[in-house]
Point group: C2
Chain length 433, copies 2
């Protein structure tokens, strides 16, 4: 049986999971793949530290060159995370002739084109199934399974922390702050949750998916993003009354030859597949011109789900499949170049607008007039009871628009917020479906 | 650019879709894959018949040898359906050195081992993504993306017709017969729907998935199956009241080293991902020991979704990926051999039982006593009002069991049906989750 040497960079949560799969389930993987995956070297910062997995100490090393210079290693796995050192390590590994597997979404979102080019020129494979949506094989679905399609849109719940918080807000009515605290207590959110809740993490993953789906170079900087950290519990409740869940959606959509890219809290109709994704799960909806709408669902993070994707990539790389996939993909992206990102002046959709307006005659008329001036037509209006219990307290006014230009909608909001009878800032959320 | 010759057997619904993708979107596929897929030959029964796709008449042929003997064809696509002639054609194509793509689930479920062996010995690839769940890339997810996992269970809604009918029964309360008629009017069911509604079609697909998931030879004959054609609207309603949807689930599950295989109407808890699959959609839940639970959802049939999977397979085969996948899979299945199918005496689970019992003292006691004698413990009981509006009319009695041996449950049902106070046949449905 053929033996394939594996070198591992990093022995944190996911790294320990990968080591466990390779060491404890090596026989099973060998039966299934015909390959003996041999863990030859693990690069860690401190070789003396205690770890969650028992490794022979001869495997531990403190420098990338231990992997890069080991002729017995064919596949190197980068699980350090972060950008600078990981980037340098991967370039060194590629230059040393290794195929590389990585779960590093931030790195790919920032430096994907450079790493793709380098690996492609060197004739090496770069595999990154674990970088998006944990164990869900969404990278291979888009780049292989749906290859016969023109992808029309990719829309995903890509951050489990945010989805856990949004689910809690919807099901218990609690505030963002309270739901975040609970998520932290339960280990679903880190003590500094910024990158999860401000949309950055989802934008990293979307940049990767958009490159695969549309064959073009996209980095995080191309993606308009808005997090859930300023979301008001009242809007979650009003959306629910209107028949919608609010989800942090990461969307890449083909519109008139341009690609619309965004990460934002979005209203999604109840009972649609994405609206039903609860808790820390991830899901990605992919629409292709031939296949129609598909959905891929599972755990988007965690030790073993992510390790499942990493080891899947090691197998794919060792069998030679990942090399074919990467070569094909890199050629396509090279030929397609940079896409036209849809400018915000062209972005359009339906919007949920919520104003806090004084409860007196004429205010609704003023708001409706300004919306009309910006050519935003109203689909439905709900005026809620005042939240504060005194006369003259502002009342929440929720307006759903028909299809409208986003820039005009934001312009109208700006004008409305200048009315003396409205308490700014008003809220504007995208509606899908 | 490399050109790959494609030969097509069959130009029905799916065949026309495949031809359209190859002819109308050849440039797009070439940009994406670096391959020019050239449709060289289409074998049809009547070369003069009008078709949904315009083909140069020089492409049409009436005999498989036109494809088998064309040295310019590398990939042959079998879309005839049916078993006998398709089997002979595929064997001829393999012997002539062609890689083969097929969407023929019945053929693979009946003769999979023979076709696998022949292709494997000849060093050819056999690809069949389109045979299960239309455009959803579930075959590649199980055989590649989740390859690092021990698959624990595969549970799918694999027949769109049945799911359409069950959804209609649940949402409108109509009978099976009425829902079937509507499905037929709308084109979701054929005029003879037997294979769809009696579980045979789902069993074909399950046989294929079980082979991939557990690496063993399974044919349709190994699968206990029950359709939806005798399902009573009342049971759909009572299940709904208890918080469950009834779905035609195809399940392959690892239990104590054996594989439990079944297709049956099954109660699935509301708001779980499978329960939320409505209409003609398909979905497959795969649970792996590392990845946890995943779900793959989309259109399970129809011209273009199926053509999407077929052309995906043609691309995979032409790029050489399908060859690697098939070789790996065939080796694994050859080594694993035939699994131990769990005998019905060992199958256990929770069950929904519904009796029509005379509304008089002691009847519930008799039923409960018999269940107790068979060691079936009761989780909940609901006695409904009589459906018929006269005194002494039998009342429906719904009992949910705790975990119980299926054979014992059926034995108890048999004894209960012999009671003078019960109107047979009583109903027993499996409960999942």
């Amino acid at each position: 049986m053929q033996t394939v040497g594996v070198g591992l960079l990093g022995l944190g949560t996911v790294g320990s999971g990968v080591a466990r799969l390779l060491l404890e389930h090596g026989d099973r993987i060998a039966r299934r793949t015909g390959l003996r995956l041999e863990l030859r070297r693990v690069v860690v910062r401190d070789v003396r530290k205690e770890r969650g997995v028992v490794l022979p100490s001869r495997l531990l090393a403190s420098d990338v060159s231990a992997v890069a210079q080991d002729p017995g290693v064919q596949v190197a796995v980068e699980l350090w995370g972060g950008v600078g050192p990981a980037r340098r390590a991967i370039l060194e590994l590629i230059d040393a002739g290794k195929d590389v597997v990585t779960a590093n979404k931030a790195l790919l979102a920032e430096h994907g084109p450079e790493l793709f080019d380098r690996a492609h020129r060197a004739g090496r494979a770069l595999a990154f199934e674990a970088a998006v949506a944990g164990g869900i094989p969404i990278i291979s679905a888009i780049s292989q399974g749906l290859a016969a399609n023109q992808i029309l849109s990719i829309s995903g719940i890509l951050n489990g922390t945010s989805n856990y918080i949004l689910t809690a807000m919807a099901e218990t009515g609690e505030t963002y702050a309270a739901a975040l605290r609970r998520a932290q207590e339960l280990g679903y959110a880190e003590s500094d949750p910024s990158l999860d809740v401000d949309g950055t993490d989802a934008a990293h993953k979307l940049a990767i998916l958009a490159q695969l789906g549309f064959g073009c170079r996209v980095t995080t900087a191309d993606i308009a993003r808005q997090g859930i950290d300023r979301l008001d519990a009242a809007d979650v409740r009003y959306a629910g009354e209107l028949g919608y869940a609010i989800k942090l959606l990461a969307t890449a959509k083909l519109c008139d030859g341009s690609v619309e890219l965004r990460v934002a809290p979005t209203l999604v109709r109840h009972r649609s597949p994405l609206a039903e994704v609860r808790g820390a799960y991830n899901a990605v909806q992919v629409i292709g011109d031939a296949v129609g709408d598909t959905l891929f669902y599972g755990r988007g993070a965690g030790q073993m789900p992510t390790a499942s994707a990493v080891v899947g990539d090691i197998i794919d790389t060792a069998l030679g499949r990942a090399g074919i996939t990467f070569r094909t993909l890199a050629n396509w992206i090279e030929a397609q170049g940079t896409p036209r990102i849809q400018p915000s002046s062209e972005v359009h959709g339906r919007y949920y607008l919520r104003f806090l307006a004084e409860d007196r005659p004429g205010v609704l008329g003023q708001i409706a007039r300004i919306l009309g001036e910006h050519r935003i037509s109203i689909s439905s209006v709900i005026q809620h009871e005042a939240e504060e219990d005194h006369e003259g307290a502002p009342v929440p006014l929720v307006i759903m628009s028909h299809n409208a230009i986003e820039a005009a909608t934001l312009g109208a909001l700006c004008d409305i917020d200048r009315l003396g009878s409205v308490r700014p800032p008003s809220v504007c959320l995208r509606v899908e479906g």
